[in-house]
């Protein structure tokens, strides 16, 4: 969105309170959704629950095409549609709900930096493993991604998506990496997050912020998703404070959630 459009949306958002019928759209949970989309969607759900904002999760096969930016998930609130965690955080802030108000400037800088670290490393690694690793792409990603469609559309769409992701990986310099190097990057990222978390309950001590939601979304999804190998989950499990962090957030915010 251009800056003027964003400012306009913020103003309109501020005008109305959060409605009861807000919905979050994502691809079909059982058959279609992939690791990276599931992680992003869970991050947004965690964030909204932390803010205490009710939202219904609706699964649609064409969620990716409905989204204004092409990315999952997106929320439909009132008469506005917002996608991705960043814009959703700004949108809820315009409505008066924010988790990071209590942070000072340096802490906010740190929080944004760590969020970029997660996006840069974990999300990119998830995309790489899904689409650039042939074994995973053939067995899991392509069949799942194209499951709602019939032949020949399913083949075309799956290959198109794979090509798009591979081009992006080449552009950012991940095209030549091996799987082992990607696992190593994920390990380093988890170690950094583990160091930052330390023994605190949340990243910025007592209160959760959007960083906690994002980290939870990614780590929980990786730990609970079955891939061709368990290497990724093992790398995360070696950091015990991250495991207890995930469990804590799951218990505090997702208890009683129907799966």
């Amino acid at each position: 969105m251009s800056l003027a459009a964003e400012a306009f949306v913020s103003q309109m958002a501020a005008a109305e309170p959060w409605p009861e019928n807000a919905t979050l759209y994502q691809p079909l949970r059982e058959d279609q959704i992939l690791l990276s989309d599931c992680a992003s969607s869970l991050a947004v759900q965690a964030y909204l629950r932390m803010c205490g904002l009710p939202v219904q999760v609706v699964c649609r096969a064409n969620a990716e095409y409905m989204s204004p930016s092409g990315k999952i998930p997106f929320i439909h609130v009132g008469n506005q549609v917002v996608s991705e965690l960043g814009p959703i955080v700004q949108f809820t802030k315009a409505k008066g709900h924010s988790l990071s108000d209590g942070l000072d400037d340096v802490q906010r800088a740190e929080m944004k930096a760590y969020m970029e670290l997660v996006n840069n490393m974990l999300l990119t690694a998830e995309l790489f493993i899904q689409w650039c690793d042939d074994a995973t792409a053939n067995e899991i990603s392509r069949p799942r991604y194209s499951s709602p469609y019939s032949w020949p559309l399913n083949t075309i769409l799956a290959y198109q998506k794979q090509l798009e992701v591979r081009r992006k990986m080449n552009a950012i310099g991940w095209g030549k990496k091996t799987l082992e190097q990607v696992y190593e990057d994920v390990s380093q990222c988890c170690q950094a997050l583990s160091q930052r978390l330390g023994t605190q309950p949340y990243f910025f001590n007592k209160q959760p912020t959007e960083l906690d939601a994002l980290v939870f979304g990614h780590l929980f999804t990786i730990l609970t998703t079955r891939l061709t190998s368990t290497e990724l989950a093992e790398r995360i499990k070696s950091n015990s404070n991250l495991l207890s962090f995930c469990r804590r957030i799951e218990q505090s915010y997702f208890e009683g959630k129907s799966s």
């Binding site: 969105m1 800056l3 930016s69 740190e110 930096a113 760590y114 670290l117 840069n120 552009a171 170690q191």
Partner: protein
């Protein structure tokens, strides 16, 4: 000692040792860590087309990309992050990710995609530094790579036009610069009194933006308003790249310390195993209980092995 190291990079101008961000990062880190690196600029050679820049040649091995080169230098015991705690090492990774995601697209746009800057500054500079007939090819190639990179990363379907994306990348970049400014505060460097790899990265990204004679750049005017960042760049240039003053000594690391650190790593790797064996051994009275070697005095913490500290703390 290490074999002679040669760094291939783009040449310098506008008061900087190199105009290319990645080359500048490596040059700055080499100065901070005290590594003696011969700089061979690729200007006016055919390497402007063929070489991946920057590239570090040491003996038989060639290392590319700033992160790989910095790792290589650390392995050769040129480590500017020696005194950082593990948490500061984690912060370094996070801030570097922030720079890559938020600032790089806008820098690429300012130098290579913005028509006025490209025509008046970037293309003449790179064309004048490339031999004929590469002066027609090299700037074009860089510009196309930059544009496709920005669109692939930031272009959201269906808005695959650069004009839609411009506003977003510039506002992200300004926010990133503000965040760096908050983090730096009034200090000379990001972590204490000595520069580290984060300082090298920030210098590499911000210095060309501060110093280049860009005809039109709202981003440059923004960064010039952030006094602590411009002061940071000037400090690094004066202290480490000025021909008048000799470079200050790098953080002291001698062979004994490095060996001690290797020993500590080995010991701590084994101590986990040993603690598990301990229980078994305790139950069999005929075996003497195995004790891990006494831990030596704590060496300065190394961010590359943060798990040591979770064991030592």
């Amino acid at each position: 000692m290490a074999a002679a190291m040669e760094l291939r990079c783009w040449g310098g101008d506008w008061g900087l040792p190199s105009v290319h961000t990645e080359s500048l990062i490596v040059l700055a880190y080499a100065k901070f860590s005290g590594a003696k690196v011969t700089v061979s600029p690729i200007d006016w050679t055919w390497k402007t087309l063929t070489a991946t820049v920057p590239e570090l040649l040491c003996g038989d091995s060639a290392v590319q990309e700033p992160t790989q080169i910095l790792n290589f230098l650390r392995k050769q015991r040129f480590n500017a992050d020696y005194d950082l705690t593990a948490r500061q090492g984690a912060d370094t990774m996070a801030y570097i990710a922030l720079l890559e995601e938020k600032l790089r697209p806008a820098l690429l746009h300012t130098f290579w995609v913005d028509a006025e800057n490209y025509a008046n500054l970037t293309r003449p500079w790179f064309a004048s530094r490339s031999p004929f007939p590469l002066n027609f090819l090299v700037p074009c190639r860089h510009a196309n790579t930059a544009l496709s990179r920005i669109l692939l990363m930031k272009g959201e379907a269906p808005l695959h036009r650069i004009s839609e994306v411009e506003g977003k990348i510039y506002s992200d970049a300004k926010e990133c610069l503000n965040l760096l400014s908050y983090r730096l505060g009034t200090a000379n460097y990001f972590f204490g009194n000595l520069p580290t790899s984060l300082d090298a990265f920030v210098f590499g990204f911000v210095a060309p933006l501060c110093k280049a004679n860009l005809p039109s750049s709202p981003l440059q005017s923004h960064v010039r308003q952030l006094e602590n960042l411009t002061r940071f760049c000037d400090t690094v240039l004066d202290v480490y790249f000025s021909s008048d003053h000799p470079c200050p000594p790098p953080p002291v690391q001698d062979t004994k310390d490095a060996n001690l650190q290797k020993l500590t790593q080995l010991v701590n790797k084994e101590s986990n195993l040993i603690e598990k064996m301990d229980d078994n051994l305790r139950s069999s009275p005929q075996h003497k209980p195995h004790r891990p070697e006494p831990k030596p005095s704590l060496p300065p913490k190394n961010p590359l092995s943060p798990w040591i500290h979770s064991l030592l703390d």
